[in-house]
C-alpha cells in the first residue's frame, strides 16, 4: 500500500497500460472482423457469419487457430532475428498508442491524486516520440524479410523498408504545419492549448486543423496509408508478385503478430490524424448544446435496441443467446452512460473513438475500392509529388504565420 | 529522487567510445566499420549531452544535432561507396580492398 502511495506514477501507469492493452487487443481483433464485414458488404457478400451471431466470435476463433497452429521456423533462417522481428513489430506498434491521450487531462484518475485518467503519459514532445517509435517500426518488416532467408520475403522486406523510409519523410513534413500552428509538440496542447483546436468559426464550424491544413491532412493521410503498408500502397505483401511479402515464411502466432501490428499501426495513425487534424477528444458541437453529453448513451441505447430487434427477428439458437448478451451489454452501457456524471467523464473518449472509427472506416473502404500501385509509381509518387507538396504546405504555413511580423516588425 | 552524477555518463561514454575504437580496428566488414564509427559518434554525443546538463547550457545539445547531421551525411556517402565496392569486387572485407599500397 505505502509503495503505491510512494510511486503513484508507476502504479497508475501500470494499471492504465494493462487496461489500454486489453482494450487495444480487443479492438484489433474486432477491427479485423469489421474489415472483413465491410469489405464483404462492399463486394455484396455476407462475410464472416456463422461463428457467433454476425460472426462476432470470428476473431476469437482466429486467435485460437493461430495459437494452436504449428509454429514453423524454416531451418535456414537466422533464428534470433527471425523470432525478434514480429515481437519488434507488434511491441513498437502498441507502444506508440501508449502516448495517445484519449480524453481531456482534466479528468482525474480515481483514488490516485495528480494522475490523469485518459492518457498514460502527458510528455511535452509526445508527437515527436510517436514518430520516433513508428520510425523504428520499419525494422520489424525489414528484419523479417531478411531473416527469412528466402527471396520473396527479402524483396518484400526491401520494398517495405524503402517505402516506409520514403513516406516517413513526407509524413513528418505534412505534420510540421500543424505543429507550427499549435506551437507545441504536446498532444493535449495541440488539441486544447492556447493555439489549440477548441472554439468555433462563426460559432458552428469547429476550429479543427483540417480546415487550414487541408493539404497537410491529405498528405498525412496518404503517407500514413503507405506507412502502414495498406492498399493502395501494400506492395510489401503484394500477393500477385511477392506471395505474401515479408511474412511469407511466417506462420501461426508470429504471423498473427505481424497482422496485429499492421492493425495497431492503423489505429495509431488514425489516432494521430484525429489529434492533429480533427481536434482529438473535442466534441464537434458547440458547448452551448448541453444535451450533447447524452449522445454516447443515446447511441449505445439505439445500438442495443437494434440488436434486440435483430435478436428476436433474425437469430436462432445459440446465436440468439449471444446476441442477447450483446444487447444487454449495449443497453446497460447506454443507460450507464446516460447518468450525467458518467456522461461527463465519458465525453472525451467517446468523441475520440468515434472519429477514429470513422477514419478506420475510410481505411477499409479504400481497401475495398482502390487498385494497387506499381512499385516505381509508388516511389516517384512519394518523392516527386507527396514530398514537394507537403514541403510547399509547410513553407506556406510558415509564411502565413510570420506574415504579421513581416508586415510590421 | 536523486540524480545520477554526470561523471557516470561520461565514463559510460568513454567506455562506449573505446569499444567503438576496438570495433573500428577489429572488424573486417566495411559496413561494420562504418557502424563502429557511428558508435563512436554516439559516445561523443552522450558526452555532449552530459556536459550540457552539467553546465545547464543548451549548446551541447545543439552540437549533438550537428554531429547527427554529419553522421547522416557520412552514412549516405559511405554506404554509396560501399555499394560501389561490393559491385566491383564481390567482397566487403577491407583487407581484400588493398589496391592502395606500395
Amino acid at each position: 500500500m505505502e509503495f503505491i502511495s510512494q510511486h503513484p506514477v508507476l502504479v497508475a501507469s501500470i494499471i492504465k497500460i494493462a487496461v489500454l492493452l486489453f482494450i487495444v487487443m480487443t479492438a484489433l481483433a474486432y477491427l479485423t472482423w469489421a474489415e472483413r464485414k465491410i469489405i464483404a458488404h462492399i463486394q455484396s457478400r455476407w462475410g464472416p457469419y456463422f461463428v457467433g451471431a454476425h460472426g462476432l466470435l470470428q476473431p476469437l476463433a482466429d486467435g485460437l487457430k493461430f495459437l494452436f497452429k504449428e509454429d514453423i521456423t524454416p531451418p535456414v533462417t537466422d533464428r534470433l532475428v527471425y523470432t525478434l522481428a514480429p515481437f519488434l513489430a507488434l511491441s513498437l506498434a502498441l507502444s506508440a498508442i501508449a502516448l495517445i491521450p484519449f480524453g481531456p487531462p482534466s479528468v482525474p484518475f480515481p483514488f490516485l491524486h495528480g494522475q490523469q485518467a485518459w492518457s498514460i503519459t502527458d510528455i511535452n514532445i509526445g508527437l515527436l516520440l510517436v514518430f520516433a517509435i513508428t520510425s523504428i517500426g520499419v525494422y520489424g518488416v525489414a528484419l523479417a524479410g531478411w531473416s527469412s532467408n528466402s527471396k520473396y520475403p527479402l524483396m518484400g522486406g526491401l520494398r517495405s523498408s524503402a517505402q516506409m523510409i520514403s513516406y516517413e519523410v513526407s509524413l513528418t513534413m505534412s505534420v510540421v504545419g500543424v505543429v507550427l500552428l499549435a506551437g507545441t509538440l504536446n498532444f493535449n496542447e495541440i488539441i486544447n492549448g492556447p493555439h489549440g483546436q477548441s472554439g468555433y468559426w462563426w460559432h458552428f464550424i469547429p476550429r479543427w486543423n483540417v480546415v487550414p491544413q487541408i493539404v497537410g491532412f491529405l498528405c498525412y493521410f496518404t503517407a500514413a496509408i503507405a506507412e502502414t503498408n495498406r492498399i493502395p500502397f501494400d506492395l510489401p505483401e503484394a500477393e500477385t508478385e511477392l506471395v505474401a511479402g515479408f511474412h511469407t515464411e511466417y506462420s501461426s502466432f508470429k504471423f498473427a503478430m505481424f497482422f496485429m501490428a499492421e492493425y495497431a499501426n492503423m489505429i495509431t495513425v488514425s489516432c494521430l490524424a484525429t489529434i492533429l487534424f480533427f481536434g482529438g477528444w473535442l466534441s464537434p458541437f458547440p458547448d452551448r448544446w448541453a444535451w450533447q453529453i447524452y449522445l454516447p448513451g443515446a447511441g449505445l441505447v439505439l445500438l442495443g435496441i437494434y440488436c434486440a430487434y435483430d435478436t428476436v427477428t433474425e437469430m436462432r439458437g445459440i446465436a440468439r443467446l449471444q446476441l442477447a448478451v450483446v444487447t444487454a451489454l449495449a443497453l446497460g452501457g447506454g443507460l450507464l452512460c446516460l447518468i450525467p456524471a458518467v456522461a461527463g467523464v465519458i465525453q472525451g473518449p467517446f468523441w475520440f473513438t468515434t472519429k477514429i472509427l470513422i477514419i478506420l472506416f475510410f481505411y477499409i473502404w479504400m481497401r475495398g475500392t482502390l487498385p494497387r500501385f506499381r512499385y516505381d509509381q509508388l516511389m516517384s509518387f512519394g518523392w516527386k509529388l507527396l514530398l514537394p507538396v507537403s514541403l510547399a504546405n509547410l513553407v506556406i504555413t510558415a509564411f502565413v504565420m510570420i506574415w504579421p511580423w513581416l508586415r510590421h516588425g | 529522487m536523486s540524480v545520477v552524477p554526470v561523471s557516470y555518463y561520461l565514463v559510460l561514454s568513454a567506455i562506449l567510445f573505446g569499444l567503438g575504437v576496438v570495433a573500428f580496428v577489429f572488424k573486417r566488414n566495411i559496413i561494420t566499420i562504418f557502424m563502429s564509427i557511428e558508435l563512436m559518434l554516439n559516445a561523443v554525443n552522450l558526452a555532449f549531452v552530459a556536459f550540457a546538463r552539467a553546465h545547464n547550457q543548451l549548446d551541447g545539445l545543439v552540437f549533438v544535432f550537428f554531429v547527427i547531421v554529419v553522421a547522416a551525411a557520412e552514412a549516405a556517402v559511405g554506404l554509396a561507396i560501399v555499394i560501389m565496392l561490393a559491385q566491383h569486387r564481390q567482397s566487403l572485407s577491407v583487407e581484400r580492398v588493398n589496391l592502395l599500397k606500395f
Binding site: - | V21, F26, I33, N98, F102
Partner: protein
C-alpha cells in the same frame, strides 16, 4: 552634372576606351576602333573643357580643389587616399595633354592605318592618356607615382610596339630600365617625404613645410631624389640615353609621349613640388645646371644627326633642359610655359616629320631626302612654322617661352650668367640644326630615287592636326606677348597662385652690389636681352649658308674637325661608355653569379635536394602503406592516443 565633383570621369573615359579596344578591338574593323579610341579621347577633351569652365567659377580660396574618392591603402600612419586635385597648374597640363593627345589620336588614325596591331596601338594610346591624366591630376605623391609608372609602362609598350623588330624591343627595354633608375630615386624621395612630413598628400606637405621649416639638408636630399626621377623621366643628363632610341616607336608615339607629354612629367613634378624646391637652393642649382648643360650638350649632338627623328629627339632633350633651367632658376611659370609651347611645336615637328616619313615611304635619313617642299606643301609649311617657333624667331610661340626662360636665367631671382650663356649657345645651336633639318629635307635637289619613292601628301586626318598645331605654334605663346611692351604675362599671372601660395618668404638679395656697378650690370643685362633672338637668326643664316648656298661646306668642315665630328656623330660615345661601365659588368654578374651560381647552384640545389630527400624517404616509408585499412586504423589509434595524452597534459595545466 558638375564634373568638378566627378573628376574621376576624366580618368574613366580613356581607361574605358583602352579597356574596350584592348579586350574586343581585335575582332573589330578600323573604323570601330577609331570611333572608340578617338571618341573616348574626344569625350575626355570635352570633359576637360567643362572642367575648365567650372574651374573658372571657383573662388580663389577654394583652390586647390581636391576630390577624395576612396581610401586606397592604410598602413598605420601611412594613409593613401585616391584623391585628385585641380589647380591652375593642373588645368594647364590637362588642357595640353588632352588637346595634343586628341590631335595625335586623330593623326594616328591616318598614320597607323596600314599597320598591324591597330587596336593594340590605340588601346595603349588611350591607356597612356589615362595614366598621364592621373599623373597631372594626382593630389598626392603615390597617386602621382601610379601615373608616373603607368606612363612609363605605356611608353615601353609603345616604343616596343613593333616588338618583332629587335631594335624596337631593345629600345623599349632601354627606356624602361633607364627610367627605372630615376624612378628608384623618386621612390626613395617619396618615402623620405613621408618620413619627414608624415604624409604624402601635397596640401599637407606644403602646409607643414611652409608652417614649420625643415632642415635644409633633408629638403635638399628630398629634392635631389625627386629630381633623379625627373632626370630619368624627362631624359636629362645622365639618363637621357633612352629618349633617342625611343624613336624606334611609331612617330605619333614619339610626338605624344616622347615630346609633348610624358617626358615633361619631370618638369611638371618639379613645378608641382615647388614649395620644397624653393626651400632647397642647392637642389635648385643642381636642377638649373643639369637643365642648362643638357640643353647645350644635346643640342651639340643634334647638330650632326642625319636621322630626322633623332634630330628631333635630341632637340626635345635640349628643350626639356630649358624647362629645367627655368625651374632651376626659380621661374616655374616660364618652365611650364615652355612646356606648353614645346608641346605644341615639338608635337607638330614630330607629326610633320611623321608626315614626311609617311610621304617618303618610311625613309628617315635626311641625306636621302631633299626638295620635298613642292611635293608636300602642307607638311612643309607647318614644319617651317614649327621650326621658326622652336628656333625662337620673334612672334612665334617658342620665342616667348624661351625668351622668358633666358630672361629669368639672366635676371631672375637666382640668376646665373654662365647658365644663361649655355642657354643662349644652346638656342643658337637649336636654331642651326633645326633649319639644317628643314633645308636638308625640303630644299635642294632630291637625293632619293624618284622612281621608287613616289612622294605624296598625307591624308586629311593627318594634315588637319598639323595645321591646328601650326596655328598654336604661332599664337600659343601670345599670352606672354604684352610683357615685351611692359605689360603683364597673363600665363604667369594665371599660374602665380600655385607658385606663390607656399613660396618661401622673399629673402632680400644676398649681396647688395654697389649702385654704379649694379646700374652698369643692369645696363649690360638690358643690352643682352636681345641676344637670343640674334643668335637664333644667326643660326638660321649659318644653316642657310651651309646647306643652301654652298652645300659642300659641311663636308669640308667635318673633315677639318674630324675628331669632333665623329665624337658628336657618336653622341660622345655615351652609350658605349654606359655599356662598358654598367651593362657588361651587370650582365657578367647576373650570368655567372646570379644565374649559374645562385639560381642553378643554390635554389635548384635546394629544390632538387628536397625532391631527392622526399623520394628517398618515400622509398623507406612506403612500406608502411600496406594498403590495409585496419593497419591504418591502428596507426590512427596510436596517433589519437598520442594527441589525447598531449591535450590532457595541456588541459590539466589549465584546470589545476
Amino acid at each position: 552634372m558638375p564634373i568638378l565633383h566627378h573628376l574621376w570621369i576624366i580618368l574613366a573615359l580613356p581607361l574605358a576606351g583602352a579597356a574596350i579596344n584592348g579586350l574586343f578591338g581585335k575582332r573589330w574593323s578600323q573604323p570601330v576602333v577609331n570611333s572608340v579610341a578617338v571618341g573616348s579621347v574626344t569625350l575626355t577633351l570635352l570633359a576637360v573643357a567643362e572642367l575648365v569652365r567650372e574651374f573658372s567659377l571657383l573662388a580663389p580660396e577654394q583652390l586647390p580643389f581636391v576630390g577624395n574618392y576612396f581610401t586606397w591603402m592604410v598602413a598605420g600612419p601611412f594613409k593613401v587616399d585616391f584623391a585628385l586635385q585641380v589647380d591652375q597648374l593642373t588645368v594647364v597640363m590637362l588642357l595640353v595633354v588632352s588637346f595634343v593627345g586628341w590631335l595625335i589620336h586623330i593623326y594616328s588614325t591616318g598614320y597607323m592605318a596600314h599597320e598591324g596591331g591597330y587596336y593594340r596601338f590605340f588601346s595603349y594610346l588611350n591607356l597612356f592618356m589615362f595614366f598621364m591624366l592621373t599623373l597631372v591630376m594626382a593630389a598626392n605623391l603615390i597617386v602621382m607615382f601610379v601615373g608616373w609608372e603607368g606612363v612609363g609602362l605605356c611608353s615601353y609598350l609603345l616604343i616596343g610596339f613593333w616588338f618583332l623588330k629587335k631594335s624596337a624591343a631593345d629600345a623599349g627595354k632601354k627606356a624602361f630600365i633607364t627610367t627605372r633608375i630615376g624612378d628608384f630615386g623618386f621612390t626613395v624621395g617619396v618615402l623620405l617625404v613621408f618620413a619627414t612630413f608624415g604624409s604624402i598628400d601635397f596640401g599637407t606637405i606644403f602646409k607643414s613645410v611652409s608652417a614649420n621649416p625643415v632642415s635644409e639638408a633633408v629638403l635638399t636630399t628630398i629634392c635631389i631624389l625627386l629630381f633623379t626621377g625627373a632626370i630619368g623621366k624627362s631624359a636629362q643628363i645622365p639618363l637621357y640615353v633612352w629618349l633617342p632610341d625611343a624613336m624606334e616607336g611609331p612617330t605619333p608615339v614619339s610626338a605624344l609621349i616622347h615630346a609633348a607629354t610624358m617626358v615633361t612629367a619631370g618638369v611638371y613634378m618639379v613645378a608641382r613640388m615647388n614649395p620644397l624646391f624653393s626651400r632647397a637652393p642647392i637642389a635648385m642649382l643642381i636642377v638649373a645646371i643639369v637643365g642648362a648643360v643638357t640643353a647645350f650638350y644635346s643640342a651639340t649632338i643634334g647638330l650632326v644627326q642625319t636621322d630626322i627623328k633623332k634630330v628631333l629627339a635630341y632637340s626635345t632633350v635640349s628643350q626639356l633642359g630649358y624647362m629645367f633651367l627655368a625651374c632651376g632658376v626659380g621661374s616655374y611659370a616660364a618652365g611650364i610655359f615652355h612646356l606648353m609651347t614645346h608641346a605644341f611645336f615639338k608635337g607638330l615637328l614630330f607629326l610633320a616629320a611623321g608626315s614626311v616619313i609617311h610621304a617618303m615611304g618610311g625613309e628617315q635619313d635626311m641625306m636621302k631626302m631633299g626638295g620635298l617642299a613642292k611635293k608636300i606643301p602642307i607638311t612643309y609649311w607647318t614644319m617651317l612654322i614649327a621650326t621658326l617657333a622652336i628656333a625662337g624667331i620673334p612672334g612665334f610661340a617658342g620665342f616667348f617661352s624661351k625668351d622668358e626662360i633666358l630672361e629669368a636665367a639672366k635676371s631672375g631671382p637666382n640668376a646665373n650668367l654662365i647658365l644663361w650663356l649655355l642657354g643662349v649657345a644652346g638656342a643658337a645651336l637649336t636654331s642651326f640644326y633645326m633649319f639644317r633639318l628643314v633645308f636638308l629635307t625640303f630644299f635642294g635637289k632630291p637625293r632619293y630615287d624618284e622612281h621608287h619613292v613616289h612622294v605624296h601628301e598625307s591624308p586629311k586626318n593627318m594634315t588637319v592636326p598639323l595645321m591646328i598645331l601650326a596655328l598654336l605654334s604661332i599664337f600659343g605663346g601670345w599670352f606672354a606677348a604684352p610683357k615685351l611692351i611692359g605689360g603683364v604675362d597673363y600665363f604667369e599671372k594665371f599660374l602665380s597662385p600655385v607658385f606663390s601660395m607656399y613660396a618661401p618668404p622673399m629673402a632680400e638679395p644676398a649681396v647688395v652690389i654697389g649702385e654704379p656697378q649694379a646700374s652698369a650690370g643692369m645696363e649690360l643685362l638690358k643690352a643682352l636681352t636681345g641676344v637670343p633672338v640674334i643668335v637664333a637668326v644667326l643660326g638660321l643664316l649659318v644653316a642657310w649658308w651651309f646647306y643652301i648656298k654652298n652645300p659642300d661646306v659641311p663636308k669640308r668642315l667635318a673633315r677639318s674637325v674630324h675628331g669632333l665630328y665623329t665624337l658628336l656623330l657618336n653622341k660622345y660615345y655615351v652609350d658605349e661608355i654606359y655599356a662598358a661601365l654598367l651593362v657588361r659588368p651587370l650582365l657578367w654578374i647576373s650570368t655567372n653569379v646570379l644565374w649559374h651560381g645562385i639560381d642553378e647552384g643554390v635554389i635548384d640545389g635546394v629544390v632538387n635536394g628536397s625532391a631527392r630527400v622526399a623520394r628517398a624517404s618515400g622509398n623507406q616509408l612506403r612500406e608502411l602503406q600496406s594498403g590495409n585499412t585496419r593497419s591504418y586504423a591502428s596507426w590512427m589509434l596510436i596517433g589519437a592516443l598520442g594527441f589525447t595524452v598531449l591535450l590532457i597534459a595541456l588541459f590539466t595545466r589549465v584546470v589545476h
